[in-house]
Amino acid sequence: MASSLRDRAVDLVGLLTTPILPADYVDLFDPLRAGAELRGRIVEVRPETRDAVTLVIRPGRGWAGHTPGQYVRIGLDVDGVRQWRAYSLTGPADRADGCITITVKAIPDGRVSTHVVRRARAGMLVHLDQACGDFTLPDPRPAKVLFVTAGSGITPVMGMLRGALDDLEDVVLVHSAPGPADVIFAGELRQLAARGRIRLVERHTDTDGMLDADALAALVPDLAERETWACGPAGMLDALEARWAGLGIDARLHTERFRPALLAVGDGGTITFTTTEQEVDADGATSLLDAGEAAGVLMPSGCRMGICFGCVAPLRDGAVRDLRTGELTTASPGDGVLVQTCVSAAAGPCQIDL
């Protein structure tokens, strides 16, 4: 009843503002209000290492909260172009000021990450989605925990340490980074270790070499007893998954990947986007998502790595190839086979209903 009254009121105000919505005017003055499209305002930019910064963001009133370990999608305008990327939430769920934090490491030539590290300033508005992801601690908490992270892979784990360490008894963190100065959150982690709250094993790959599964087993003899969360480069995660599977304990390993493992490359083709009637020639390594975005098509997207299905669109005709497996999906005119545009590329001419 209350909501239908509210809808009626909005309809009435809509008579005043047609063809645009009342919200479009209110957004001019109060972008973070309840009910607005979700945005956040950067309130602080804190340097972490020479190539990583933490953004403290005050989310709009519509923010529904998060569970440590989850990530949030952020939309930023880079050179005037809206770009969406996923970043793990590095803060606890219940910060007193209601803010959330993400920590971004600049990747050489990375469009969004270098922009954030160089250009983000307090006061800027960013677009947000609600938090998501299942790289989280279960309830009840496991007795013994192992975290294995590398580089910026520390971020979701930092969220868990900050948000849930009080509930955890026995925590081992094995973290690898090129050198001591590259360790994100180094001060805080070393302090936790000094206070005996966690056992921290820092590996510096410049001097110690890459962390492999054997080395890990030597560092953490009881790893088979530990519920394990790992986040880092694909090579490391693949090795861990193989080892855990070999031990028959793969159910105890939880991994978070920042980018999809892509293998398959075919011939590419011409993609036709039906709503804008755009035709784009794309090679076999370019995802439909990237190709469409480059052509100015409004492409829905999510994780951009094949897990969230936020990017699916109907394939009306032609063939696309799954970039992870090489599998072909085909459609005949009239079909509407849903494909994940972020991990599919054209395999000959194809028509996407966007």
Binding site: L15, L16, T17, T18, P19, I20, D24, Y25, L28, D77, D79, G80, V81, R82, Q83, T275, T276, E293, G296, V297, L298, M299
Partner: protein, 385 residues
């Protein structure tokens, strides 16, 4: 004006096929430069225009709540008129051209934009982007040429109906948004039974729904909200809509009607190369000279030539590339038609009045001599002859 292919002094006669191809490549290069440098500055520009237009509209409508007081009426009506012009011209028209699609902002995108105009955006996009921009000034293809109710070229056969066209044109100016809606609907075609009935019904429904909403807003809800100022607010809103209609009609007339602008034979565009397409856009459009504010208020359609060459480049860039385009016209010895607004409006009106009469009534017969073909395409000769 006579279709270019029939003129004695074809303005492109001196250009070889190779010249035209070269011209095409130079224009492509200008386009590439703009695309490569599109960025934050452009995004800030369009956001600022939208932001300011909305604030101006809000403020004007707020002031009009007290429109019983003459100063409030004047300020509110002026503000609302400017805001409506900006909304249609610099914002709506250009967003719907896809000029800002590259920003990937779903709020400023050709596929999502709806404008303050009687014609729904999807219908306008079809008749404007697909037909007018593709068939610019091609007789019989480009409805913008005379909107199907006027004779705008010597080559159109005269009919007594056209005697009234100065009046039709004046009425069209006052009611321009409805005129556009009517010809986007292709009512003429529908009456002759050359349009799918169901399509027409669905589209007509869309237009009527849009008009109902627009009218309710400007002529019912806002006046009622003004209480004792209801009638004066109604008057203000009518005035603002008429001002916007007359202004946009004038600007658009200046784009393709003034003397010096060429029209083209239907057959001249068959097998047209990219260079030839560019050439048609160059000769089929005219610019308006004036201040930066005037350019803004025309939605940068004062750079009609640049807009027709590159319909999807951000409007704020047209003034920047205009000197390069003009230099190109000079080098290729083509006429860059431009003039101040009053002169161009007068020129367009003169033509409307002159062509309301049969050709020989006013015109020196010497103007229509045997044609000189632009290129020696045989089918073209056949048609022109």
């Amino acid at each position: 004006m006579t279709a270019m292919q029939k003129k004695t002094d074809d303005p492109t006669a001196h250009l070889s096929a190779e010249d035209i191809a070269c011209l095409g490549r130079e224009l492509d290069a200008i386009r590439e430069q703009v695309i490569a440098s599109r960025g934050e500055r452009d995004a800030e520009y369009i956001r600022a225009v939208i932001d300011n237009q909305r604030k101006l509209e809000l403020a004007s409508r707020a002031v009009l709540l007290f429109s019983l007081f003459p100063p409030a009426w004047i300020a509110g009506t002026a503000g609302l008129s400017v805001s409506k012009v900006l909304e249609n011209m610099e914002i709506g028209h250009n967003v719907m051209h896809g000029q800002w699609d590259w920003m990937r902002d779903p709020k400023i995108h050709s596929t999502t934009w709806e404008w303050d105009n009687a014609t729904p955006s999807d219908q306008w996009k079809h008749s404007h982007n697909d037909l007018h921009h593709t068939y610019t000034n091609v007789l019989g293809h480009d409805n913008d040429l005379g909107y199907g109710i006027m004779r705008v070229d010597e080559d159109q056969r005269w009919h007594p109906f056209y005697l009234g066209q100065p009046l039709w044109n004046a009425i069209n100016a006052l009611l321009f948004e409805y005129g556009i809606a009517a010809y986007d609907l292709e009512i003429g075609k529908a009456l002759k039974g050359r349009k799918d009935k169901d399509d027409f019904k669905a589209q007509a429904k869309g237009v009527l729904r849009k008009i109902r909403k627009q009218v309710t807003r400007d002529y019912v809800v806002h006046p009622i909200l003004s209480g004792p100022s209801a009638l004066t607010t109604l008057g203000a809103n009518i005035t603002a809509n008429v001002v916007r209609n007359v202004w946009t009609h004038s600007v658009i007339m200046c784009g393709h009607f003034p003397e010096g602008v060429e029209t083209f034979e239907k057959t001249s565009i068959e097998g047209e190369t990219r260079g030839e397409w560019y050439l048609r856009q160059m000769l089929g459009s005219a610019n308006i000279t004036g201040s930066p504010f005037m350019h803004l208020m025309t939605g940068n359609l004062s750079f009609q030539i640049e807009h027709h060459l590159f319909p999807d480049l951000p409007s704020n860039r047209y003034s920047e590339i205009a000197p390069k385009v003009k230099e190109l016209f000079e080098r290729y010895e083509l006429t860059y038609t431009e003039g101040p607004l009053p002169k161009q409006v007068a020129s367009a009106w003169r033509k409307v009045i002159r062509l309301s009469l049969p050709n020989d009534a006013l015109q020196d017969a010497a103007a229509v001599l045997p044609f000189t073909p632009r290129t020696a395409a045989p089918e073209r000769e056949a048609v022109a002859a």
